[in-house]
Symmetry: C2
Subunit: 606 residues, 2 copies
């Protein structure tokens, strides 16, 4: 079924259901960041393969909204007849404005209520109402028309055996909170929250060790997990049930929810779908409490035992990384022909050889020269660049271990860097170090430290379009909330921005990844993971600082040492000393790697 | 009428109006930051004289909520029987929680709807609803019971003759916006917005050159100003009416609003009172649009002509300041006995002698030694400290000129500072300089630069409890929005904070005032006003930087030059060079002041 015939079928759906437009978001019923192809109707109907964007189809028109990361790609990929709407550009209409333009007043717009949070749905419904349009959650699934729809397959669910916190403690903590709030049950729909609460993992979404499921936790009883029964080994099922966690078929979840009555349910409107919320709203004597999910924050704050395990994962990952970079240096020195995908594959081999390796934590970004300037570059064999000539090689990669999830970016000067490249690289390094050595009050909104990293770049009239840091899961998704280091961006044409920020507390694991991208020239990013730890206490309160837990030398070739402040020189020498001392034993029998490690961690001076 | 008999009268009001509680905020019908004593019912009934706080009175109980700045003062001043509720402390109940505790379900709580924005009223009403309580806007004014209520007196309204933008242009700009939004009229209730739009000033509130009034601007007609007719000179009235601005008696405003029908009115819910909003809601076929007032932003962005005038005001103010500080140095050297209030009065004399001086822009804060550690210290003759012994003298002061409003803080080492004092002073100076020399992207949320100032203090586990910067009016209120440099604070017990921030644009005038306060020891604050100006443009967009417009030497006695970075040394030497060159001519015939100026702006080196 081609994109155009799918588009025609969707238009048939419009007519049949007396709708004037259909909204097709990029989402699954758990509002995951990454989704299984089963839910990729937007991609199938539009041709656009990016990981975010919303397709809108009317009888006569179709348009796709996506943000600046994807403008080029969407332009190239979109099937004929679908307008590209550059989201965030000042003259780009909002979806509701565009629909207001092309549809008659009173038109009905449908969306699969399972693919939109009730919060987002309500906001959009209100926005459309003002413009005389009616948004409704569909009773039928438009994806049923998609004949080649890939089936969902459920991989085995397994225990996260390394998890130091017991699931009964986690569930008890949630039950105590329900007690305190006067709620009877909490509905967990985010896959990583379910995996974290139950210390279970899966592999239903590539690189994200989660499994499709829903969880219902009751104040006074245990919990009920709705999963694919075929994915749960018998021994695990028995163990869960012994611990008071009932197992039921995922397909029965909506009926289960519909059968509830006379209960107070706590939900997070931001990650519970409109469809599930509507089921609860229709229930008899059901009272709904809404708040941010407490699980997101608990999950973000790693315990000391978890942080210890994360340090182990970092040591393992660092070993693979130094083996790779030593190999790479030799290969380049020897003039071995090498492309981006080949380099990425080799790094993958070194990682896969490590004990306890489960998966990559995301598709490795390996980008050379101008490719590194594309924020979401993905190399494809045969179409990728060869590592030839003088430029920067940017590799952003990570792995999943039972002991933790890693995420690291290094930018390596291949050949002799120019002065301009050195200035750029040194500025990014300064940004990285400023943040790495920052201290700040405990409880500071996470957004607030962002400017500390950007200041050295701003000074040179430079900036980067992405956030400085995201939360990272514990053998879970490489992107998680709620903390985030970034400055809030304004919507087009607005002069006020409303943004939510989370209090920084000890134990949070976050990335520190400033960058600089010169379109057509090169891209630079230096990323380590940092763990919030106590820095000290004074009459002004408790203060935190970052412990850099990622272990891998930072390339020194393009560093202009004279541009660094004394304390910045000290930081990088201390960091390299730590990397050397922590990793050298692991490669003591690998002379070439050891030699590379020693050379790469040499102290620098002004 | 004593506080206790007023409290008894208010309880009588409760019974008469079948209310179970009365909320008495600190506000006037324009939701001004500073209010006339006429509106100070909260103060009269509680005894607490602080400038912020809410009194709640029930039949049996009374309690006052105020933030940490006032805890000590409220403890001292509150009349017997009124509980102090330390707002922001973790175990302090919210007003609605406390009322839920002490009142029966279904209780009615009254508040004067003129003293609360409709936004705040709606939020509190919802909050109370959840707890089974009903908030209602009163039909009768409880302040009528207050027998000694000071009458409102209306000072003459006068032209802001120096204003470079014509009022007809400002009003036309507003009318164009109404046109674009499809609204018929805009209701202006903020006094500084009215003053700015009309280029008129008054003096109804001490130090704030505004006048009590309302303004109604229509899309297709002119505007109608509701003011005290006695305050408008006949010539001004004639001029306004010629320009299409009708003048009507302020007392008729509510009736005027109630008589409107079939119009779409734009209001800012955040600064329009619940009472006025309810009048509009009751109107026939009135449609209400809500948004942030556009005038607040227009007012914040000074034009180039305005910034030129502000530079003139700064030069004048700087002349008074250097005369004062030269005089002070001599007085201290000569051992002249001197108290805080005497020093403040002398500074006031130097300012009042300047051409074009209108008023102070706020009550001068002159605090010596431990007094400077109290954020809202106000010295009183007879009870104030003598400038004796070695400590810091902190003076935060400002003036109103037709050319602009000034606001400056200097901290001067009296006697020989200790090493600890020098470390503190140098850290605050570094914080000030870091922000003063920062560059940042145009359109950055104003909050985002805050960490740049605080980083040098956080590094030493220090911080300050106030914001780093507030907007400053143009011959208007010394505090104005919408931009603000500060990190958002969490409410007690919350781990997420939602905050609004404004895009930084060229022309905004903001304070740069980091500080450090050691209770019982000393307080330090260094404040200049800074104007956003273009720093340059690159492939990453347009960048802004701050032009420091305040002109007065920063005391060098307690500076540890070796702690400053090279670029920080350069900044202070450049700044002092500018101060010297701009001010020396004005005092060329005053040898002592000139000598002091030259010595105080000497270059420093590591």
């Amino acid at each position: 079924m081609s994109e155009t015939s799918l588009l025609a079928a969707l238009r048939g759906f419009l007519a049949e259901n007396r709708l004037q437009a259909l909204l097709i978001p990029t989402a699954d019923p758990h509002l995951s960041e990454y989704i299984h192809d089963h839910f990729a109707l937007r991609k199938a109907a539009s041709g656009f393969t990016g990981s975010a964007g919303t397709l809108v189809v009317t009888e006569k028109n179709a348009a796709l909204w996506c943000d600046s990361r994807y403008w080029e790609q969407a332009q190239r990929e979109l099937v004929c007849g679908i307008f590209l709407m550059r989201d965030g550009k000042e003259d780009t209409p909002a979806i509701s404005d565009w629909l207001h333009e092309v549809l008659a007043a009173g038109s009905k717009i449908g969306v699969d209520g399972r693919l939109m949070s009730s919060k987002a749905f309500s906001a959009l419904k209100r926005e459309m109402q003002v413009k005389g349009l009616e948004l409704c959650a569909l009773a039928k699934d438009p994806a049923d028309l998609w004949r080649e729809r890939p089936p969902l397959r459920f991989a085995p669910i397994f225990e996260h055996t390394a998890a130091p916190q017991k699931r009964e403690e986690k569930i008890a903590r949630l039950q105590t909170l329900l007690q305190k709030r006067g709620a009877d049950a909490f509905l967990v729909t985010s896959l990583d929250e379910i995996a974290w609460l139950l210390n279970l993992r899966g592999s239903d979404i590539p690189h994200n060790p989660v499994f499709y499921s829903f969880l219902w936790v009751e104040k006074n009883a245990g919990a009920t997990l709705f999963a694919a029964l075929s994915a749960v080994p018998e021994t695990l099922r028995a163990r869960l049930e012994k611990e008071g966690i009932a197992l039921r078929n995922k397909d029965g979840f909506e009926a289960f929810l519909a059968a509830q009555s006379a209960v107070t349910v706590l939900i997070d409107e931001g990650n519970t779908s409109e469809a599930l919320t509507e089921i609860l709203q229709r229930g008899e004597a059901i009272s709904i409490q809404t708040d941010k999910s407490p699980v997101a924050l608990w999950k973000a704050v790693k315990t000391e035992e978890e942080t210890d395990l994360i340090r182990c994962a970092m040591k393992k990952d660092g070993t693979a990384l130094i083996r790779f970079y030593a190999w790479l240096e030799k290969a380049l020195r020897n003039g071995t022909p090498l492309t981006e995908t080949e380099a990425a594959a080799k790094l993958g081999e070194f990682r896969a050889a490590l004990p306890g390796f489960v998966d990559l934590s995301f598709e490795t970004i390996c980008a050379f020269g101008p490719n590194a300037a594309l924020p979401h570059y993905q190399a494809h064999p045969g179409r990728d660049a060869a590592l030839v000539g003088a430029s920067f090689l940017l590799i952003d990669s990570g792995a999943q271990f039972q002991e933790g999830t890693t995420d690291i970016t290094r930018t390596t000067a291949v050949g002799e860097p120019t002065e301009e490249m050195k200035e750029d690289y040194t500025a990014v390094l300064r940004a990285h170090i400023r943040l790495a050595k920052a201290r700040f009050p405990e409880g500071l909104p996470s957004q607030a430290v962002d400017a500390i990293a950007r200041e050295p770049l701003w000074e040179r009239l430079c900036d980067y379009g992405h956030g400085t840091g995201h939360g990272v899961g514990f053998f879970l998704n490489v992107h998680e909330g709620p903390q985030r280091i970034s400055y809030p961006r304004f919507s087009a044409g607005r002069d006020t921005v409303l943004s939510a920020s989370t209090a920084m507390v000890s134990g949070m694991l976050t990335s520190n990844e400033p960058g600089l991208y010169r379109p057509g020239k090169w891209g630079i990013r230096i990323e380590n993971l940092v763990s919030n730890r106590k820095a000290g206490e004074s009459e002004f309160g408790r203060f935190l600082e970052f412990e850099t837990v990622t272990l891998c030398p930072i390339d020194l070739k393009a560093v202009l040492a004279e541009r660094l402040l004394e304390d910045e020189i000290r930081w990088i020498n201390d960091y390299h000393n730590l990397v050397l001392n922590t990793l050298k034993d692991a490669v003591k029998d690998e002379p070439e790697t050891l030699d590379w490690l020693i050379r790469s961690t040499r102290p620098i001076a002004k």
